[in-house]
């Protein structure tokens, strides 16, 4: 074992190398494999055609989230969606894989239920055929997205061929001001490094603002690491992490719990460990963020003007910005404040947890969704939905005139019929504002739950701080 100070990433990596031949990628052991309906059918077919079964059903968890309807059950899905959902049922059944299916009272978005059920634990390697697997890094795990071929590799062998990534420390110093949230931290980071700035790297988020963040906030931040091109984002585990995991259904119990915590305490990066890259952000200087373009790196403070294409020297970048603004129908040089909004989407694996719903509900309480706006609230899991209903949040949203739905990915990816119409402008708490992501021709402004709630009640893009007491 190396005596040099090691980073959190390096420690987890070292703990999971099964074999390493010169010239070949490492064979990495995977502790937890999450599976969903969209990226798994072809992987299960590969297994079937080779006469293989899932090697470790006990380390595999399946959920239906991407294409499930958020109301109306199976019948509401289109035919191809239904086939895909049924196929996951039979694939999971034939392989004894636990499935959070349509009728499960705990089903939800894969990256919400992993932590919620206690599957996600510090020090683990976690993969899923889904780029937002980076979410699980909030627990001090190494979580990253893989392609369907690799889903097949992990189903069959519980291993993955991997080259080691470089490390990138994202230090967030200082304290957030009221009205500014974890979502704004990550959007601010992306606006600085762009959507390719983290390529080849794994982020480790450090600093006062990360320590101060709750687990949900850390998940929001790690979730969008992939939007900066980093496959994974991580936060060193601490008491908050252990408290979150403790007592959850699949968390270690009794003496195992004590042993696990002792092991987890050794995970944080050692004093003196170095990173290949570092960036520092001052949380106290941040404002609520909004995106103006067609990728998550095109973000600005809500009070700042949209950048001028003429300010960019690179021709391709300038052309990209011009194309993005043309698609978004936004003017450079002006802020987004006052821009009329058609739809508000509160949901997705980025911001659909109880604290997100609470934050939005607190701002919306006693107010109404503006008449020009349709608001959809989609809890991240059925458990979140139930907890929210127990404290009356559903009533706040419904009384305001918002639509309260069953859990799922919903309009984040617009595969299930929940989608924007061409030209509509949405303020969304999700993670991607790519052209057409929320429906063909739809225009997405990414923001925090607070900023989304402010847009809902005013009918236009509004600084949430002006509505907070």
């Amino acid at each position: 074992m190396s005596q040099n100070p090691r980073t959190l990433f390096q420690k987890i990596w070292d703990n999971h190398v099964v074999a390493e031949k010169p010239g070949a990628p490492a064979v990495l052991y995977i502790d937890l494999h999450l599976v969903h309906e969209v990226t798994s059918p072809q992987a299960f077919s590969t297994l079937k055609s080779r006469g293989l079964k899932v090697r470790r059903p006990d380390r595999t968890v399946a959920t239906m989230d991407h294409s499930i309807p958020t109301r109306g059950g199976y019948e509401a899905a289109d035919e191809m969606g239904r086939i895909q959902l049924r196929l996951l049922e039979s694939n999971a059944g034939e392989n004894n894989v636990r499935l959070y299916g349509l009728n499960s009272v705990e089903r939800g978005i894969v990256h919400v239920i992993g932590p919620e059920q206690g599957f996600t634990q510090p020090g683990m390697t976690i993969v899923c055929g889904d780029s937002h697997t980076s979410t699980h890094g909030a627990f001090g795990a190494l979580g990253f997205g893989i392609g369907t071929s690799e889903v097949g590799h992990v189903l069959a062998t519980q291993c993955l061929l991997q080259r080691k990534a470089k490390t990138f420390e994202v230090r967030v110093d200082g304290k957030l001001r009221p009205g500014v949230t974890a979502k704004d931290i990550i959007l601010a980071l992306l606006s600085r490094i762009g959507v390719g700035g983290g390529t080849g790297h794994v982020f480790e988020y450090t600093g006062e603002a990360i320590r101060a963040a709750d687990m949900e906030g850390r998940m929001t931040i790690c979730n969008m690491s992939i939007e900066g091109g980093a496959r994974a984002g991580m936060v060193a585990p601490d008491e908050k992490t252990f408290n979150f995991v403790h007592g959850r259904e699949f968390a270690p119990k009794g003496a195992d719990w004590d042993k696990a915590v002792a092991r987890w305490r050794t995970l944080p990066s050692d004093e003196g460990a170095t990173y290949d890259k570092t960036i520092t952000i001052d949380a106290s200087a941040l404002e609520p963020m909004v995106t103006f373009g067609t990728n998550p790196g095109q973000g600005i403070a809500i009070t700042a003007p949209v950048p001028m294409p003429s300010s960019l020297s690179d021709v391709n970048e300038r052309a990209g910005l011009e194309k993005a603004l043309a698609y978004m129908k936004l003017e450079p040089g002006k802020t987004l404040l006052g821009q009329p909004v058609d739809v508000v989407f509160l949901g997705s694996c980025t911001n659909s947890r109880l604290v997100d719903l609470r934050a939005a509900a607190a701002l919306m309480g006693g107010r109404k969704v503006a008449s020009n706006v349709k608001m959809m609230v989609v809890p991240g899991s059925q458990s979140v939905k139930k907890a929210a209903e127990a404290e009356g949040l559903d009533k706040v949203f419904k009384d305001a005139g918002a639509d309260w739905r069953e859990a799922g990915c919903s309009m984040c990816i617009a595969m299930n019929g929940d989608q924007l119409s061409p030209g509509q402008l949405a303020v969304s708490t999700s993670n991607r504002n790519f052209e057409g992501r929320q429906g063909k021709g739809g225009r997405t402004v990414l923001a925090s739950p607070l900023t989304a709630a402010a847009a809902a009640v005013t009918g236009k893009i509004t600084d949430p701080r002006t509505l907070m007491s």
């Binding site: 990628p25 294409s67 969606g81 291993c159 390529t199 992939i226 391709n316 991607r432 992501r437």
Partner: protein, 199 residues
Amino acid sequence: MPAPEFTTLTARCVVLPNTDVDTDQIIPARFLKVTDKLGLGKSLFCDWRYFDDGSPNPEFVLNKPESQGAEILVAGHNFGCGSSREHAPWALTGWGLRAVVSTMFADIFRSNCLKNGFVPVTVEPAVHVELVAALAKDPNMPVTVDLTGDAATVSWPGRAPVAFPIDPFARDCLLNGVDELGYIQALEPQIEAYEAAHR
């Protein structure tokens, strides 16, 4: 299915210089309800390629007569960012493409490409500019991507081969049709030993 192979390719190109092209553009999510890998080529770049009424947009590069039969895509910086969907290389190869040249690829996309015999060729910005300029002069110019030499190279008439980085293991798999799943399975004793030690 046999493992995909790639040795050398000489073919015409399509140039799509946009930066940060995400996999949602390459293949929009509404086409991800398939349960196999086939037939995605017709939906490649769907929302850029077709008008709302479903007719092809003649301005979009894939619809131009000279693009038909091209097998190499010359793309902009950070191609393939966003979603991990392997449907992206399935759609690109489904259209008939076999290699893509850019100055940077997103990590998951690059890995997915290599698993489908679709070669991501990363070149320096200056080389990219040179290639795009040469193709502007002669859109029919054949470009060669060669994995067989000491180094993997890309070249075109009048241009000495430029070496490009490719994972040596992935290159070996492509040259020799090595099946990666089979490779991992052969390590079963080590996997079992690891599991025994980490119970």
